[in-house]
């Protein structure tokens, strides 16, 4: 870190180590990390660019650090949020109490693209719809965290949390010995336990769990195979599965074998061509029937996406009060909904100061970062908002905190966010850590890997 910048207490030990280390050694460690990632094949696919379609995500050797106290506060807040989101999902596919009470507009739920009519009335085991909740957060001050968005479908990136740690432990064993860092490597076994705990009603034996992937061309294929491997379960594609009666089977060299729990990493609309997109070859014909009949559990449940769009997000604090009778422990970012006339007027009048996002957008695509945009870009975006106000929300550019990051062979402050992964089954569990994404360009607020962001290891120190 350059002199003059203030550094929080937990970083001091690591910084001391880095300052006393020969820069040539650091550079070498940085290169070793890249080589390891390449050799192990920790890559993500980039579509539509030709050439090398497998790309590395830049890895930063400087960890992000939380103290035990900081983490325990976050943990309570994240678990609270995950419970409320699941209560909401169960509610909107049953009586819809929250809508009847007038706390959330009916239109936002029932006309939402992610709302699946085919799921109405189904009650998955333990009433859980979203089994892995990824909560994206940013820090704005010593004790201030804001939730940016919730991911209730298939939040990705957890393999990086685990591999980043592996590589850090190989490169910097001394740091791990002198800091007491909570391990994250039990995540796969927690995930397996969670998935087994939600076995469907008709499963009478030890549940068979599988991971369902769209295939090796998918950008997150590494993660899919990694998780299946670490959990010790089969990684299947749609063509490996078939439905007979109320049950799902996989084709094995010994003949058909029953599957009870499917951790699916494909979108709702591809799950079952008989129910959703008829032309899709990725899913399994008849899967929804087996699901409805209680012969198989799909994780996360179809229709879980209705809880995680950027418009529904603004109501999560309301959900926490409504379902749990508690005050939210984590803040939402102040959000203006362009669907509401007053908010729309405010947004249009203040575009240069705001971040505007598409309600259904993801991956950092299609957003406007007001302070960084030209007049021309702002005016073009204004027209887009006016054409369909319901599709946009706006947030202030927060005074995001930065974390020391190894860039151009020295440490410099860069903006980061954090995605912890909350597991919801019979119990609710949070692994002490998460994926820290870092914006490698100076001043940039966008951390998505598709936009040139990198990743770093996330340390939670024990007491």
């Amino acid at each position: 870190m350059k002199s003059g910048d203030r550094v929080r207490e937990p970083y001091k030990d690591v910084l001391r180590w880095i300052e006393s280390t020969d820069p040539a050694v650091l550079l070498q460690k940085h290169r070793e990390a890249e080589t390891l990632f390449r050799q192990i094949g920790i890559t993500f696919a980039v579509y539509g660019e030709g050439g090398d379609t497998e790309r590395l995500i830049p890895f930063d050797i400087m960890p992000r650090i939380f103290t035990a106290n900081e983490w325990s506060k976050l943990e309570r807040g994240i678990k609270q949020r995950a419970r409320a989101l699941n209560a909401f999902l169960w509610d909107v596919y049953h009586r819809g109490e929250i809508v009847r009470s007038g706390r959330i507009p009916a239109k936002l739920v029932y006309q939402n693209d992610a709302y699946e009519r085919a799921v109405v009335g189904i009650s998955p085991s333990h009433k859980v719809f979203s089994h892995v909740v990824g909560v994206d957060m940013v820090r704005t001050g010593p004790d201030e965290f804001y939730v940016l968005e919730d991911n209730c479908r298939t939040p990705s990136g957890v393999s990086y949390m685990l591999e980043n740690r592996e590589i850090m432990m190989r490169l910097f064993p001394a740091l791990f010995r002198s800091n007491r860092i909570m391990p994250v490597d039990n995540y796969p076994s927690l995930l397996r336990k969670t998935l087994k705990s939600v076995a469907p009603p008709k499963c009478e034996q030890e549940p068979t769990v599988v991971v369902l992937t769209p295939g090796s061309a998918n950008s997150a294929y590494f993660e899919h195979s990694f998780l299946a491997d670490q959990m010790g379960v089969e990684l299947v594609e749609g063509r490996d599965l078939f439905v007979k009666g109320d049950f799902v089977y996989m084709r094995t060299t010994r003949g058909p074998r029953r599957v009870d729990v499917i951790y699916r990493r494909i979108d709702d609309s591809f799950i079952d061509p008989l129910c959703f997109r008829p032309e899709s070859m990725l899913g399994v014909p008849g899967l929804m029937n087996a699901y409805r009949a209680g012969g198989v559990q799909i994780c996360s449940a179809p229709g879980a996406g209705v809880a995680d769009d950027k418009a529904v997000y603004t109501y999560v604090p309301e959900m926490i009060r409504f379902y749990l009778g508690e005050e939210p422990l984590l803040n939402n970012v102040r959000t203006w909904r362009c669907s509401e006339p007053d908010d729309l007027n405010y947004v249009l009048a203040n575009l240069p100061e705001l971040v505007v996002k598409e309600v259904h957008g993801s991956g950092g695509y299609g957003m406007l970062v007001g302070p960084a945009a030209s007049k021309k870009e702002i005016e073009a975006y204004r027209l887009r908002i006016l054409a369909d106000p319901d599709d946009f929300i706006a947030q202030p550019t927060l005074a995001l905190s930065t974390t020391p990051t190894y860039v151009d062979q020295e440490l410099a402050p860069r903006h980061v966010d954090l995605r912890p992964y909350c597991l919801v089954g019979e119990k609710i569990e949070l692994c002490p850590g998460g994926l820290t994404r870092v914006a490698l360009k100076q001043g940039s607020l966008v951390v998505n890997s598709s936009q040139g962001g990198g990743v770093k290891d996330t340390w939670v120190l024990s007491n």
């Binding site: 390449r38 050799q39 192990i40 094949g41 090796s216 294929y221 195979s225 990694f226 299946a228 491997d229 089969e234 990684l235 299947v236 594609e237 063509r239 490996d240 996989m250 084709r251 094995t252 060299t253 010994r254």
Partner: protein
């Protein structure tokens, strides 16, 4: 195990073995091209290698001359040739990537590193290894994959499918290599035992890594009949047809007993083993070595098809 995974394991090892064998063929090629041919000039060994790898038609469509440079480009670096070393490595790696959950991380690392390293020196012609070094490199890397497999893989059905791929492919390659020698030797049968003839047979043995083994078994006599016997019938030679068929049968026995099923592939393999065990090299030569090898290659292909049917490979 998933049928699709079994299939990917089978093809991963087949393509690794194919790349290994291709490097061995190339080695024969450059050794042969250094000695004068009887008819004057130099032996056109490159032609026979294109024939052995069944790629001569495709080659002729793209290249005018069967020069070393062209053959090397075509059989080693050409992406559009599905039988080139680079294609074999790519397909082996794609299949391994499909079944990363069914192979150990050491096997995956060996395959992935081989592919990445090859890509690296392929990208820059200035970094390309000379042909002899390249052949050695491919053989060594392939041995590392095989070694990682033997040292770390659990002995379950997955390892049986992986091994099956090796032996089915190796049998095919040994039979083809022998068949090519047969063609080369045809015009010179009257001088069997002559200097050139001996050189060709010993070169074949060297390329198969079997030169020393052959001496242990037969002493220094490189007669075609002895070499043919060694590479077809000798059970102790790890590249012989007899050894490959025996190993195939063993893997299929393992699978059948753990699945408690009787499978068409096993019947087929047992019949092949019976045939090869009850014949002699004199019989083979008097009925025609070429005919024998041609029939063997066909039977071996049928075996691969039966394996696919028995374990539900492919979409259905």
């Amino acid at each position: 195990m998933l049928s699709r995974n079994a299939e990917s394991l089978f093809w991963t090892s087949r393509y690794m073995e194919r790349a290994d064998n291709l490097a061995r063929h190339m080695e024969v090629g450059y050794r042969m091209s250094m000695i004068p041919a009887q008819s004057g000039g130099y032996a056109s060994e490159w032609h026979s290698i294109l024939t052995a790898t069944n790629t001569i038609n495709q080659f002729s469509q793209v290249y005018a001359e069967q020069s070393e440079e062209n053959v090397v480009q075509f059989l080693i670096y050409d992406d559009s040739n599905p039988s080139s070393i680079v294609s074999c490595l790519r397909v082996a790696r794609d299949n391994a990537r499909q079944v990363r959950t069914a192979i150990t991380s050491e096997v995956w690392l060996a395959i992935n590193q081989m592919y990445l390293a090859f890509r690296e020196f392929e990208a820059d012609p200035a970094n390309r290894l000379a042909l002899p070094e390249l052949c050695d490199w491919v053989k060594r890397q392939a041995s590392m994959v095989r070694g990682a497999f033997i040292n770390t893989q659990l002995h379950n059905d997955g390892s049986d499918f992986f091994s099956l791929g090796y032996f089915v492919e190796r049998a095919d390659n040994t039979a083809r290599a022998l068949d090519i020698k047969y063609h080369i030797l045809l015009p010179t049968t009257e001088v069997v035992g002559g200097g050139i003839d001996n050189y060709q047979w010993s070169t074949l043995l060297r390329a198969l890594g079997a030169y020393r083994s052959f001496h242990w078994e037969y002493g220094g006599d490189h007669s075609p009949a002895k070499v043919a016997e060694f590479l077809i019938l000798n059970r102790r030679c790890p590249r012989s047809l007899s050894h490959c068929v025996r190993q195939t049968t063993k893997q299929l026995d393992n699978l059948c007993s753990s699945y408690q099923k009787y499978l068409p592939a096993q019947t087929h393999a047992l019949r092949m083993l019976d045939d090869i065990s009850s014949t002699s090299v004199d019989q083979i030569i008097s009925n025609g070595l070429h005919e024998y090898l041609r029939d063997f290659i066909l039977e071996n292909n049928h075996l691969a098809e039966r394996i696919g049917e028995s374990f539900l490979f492919g979409e259905r």
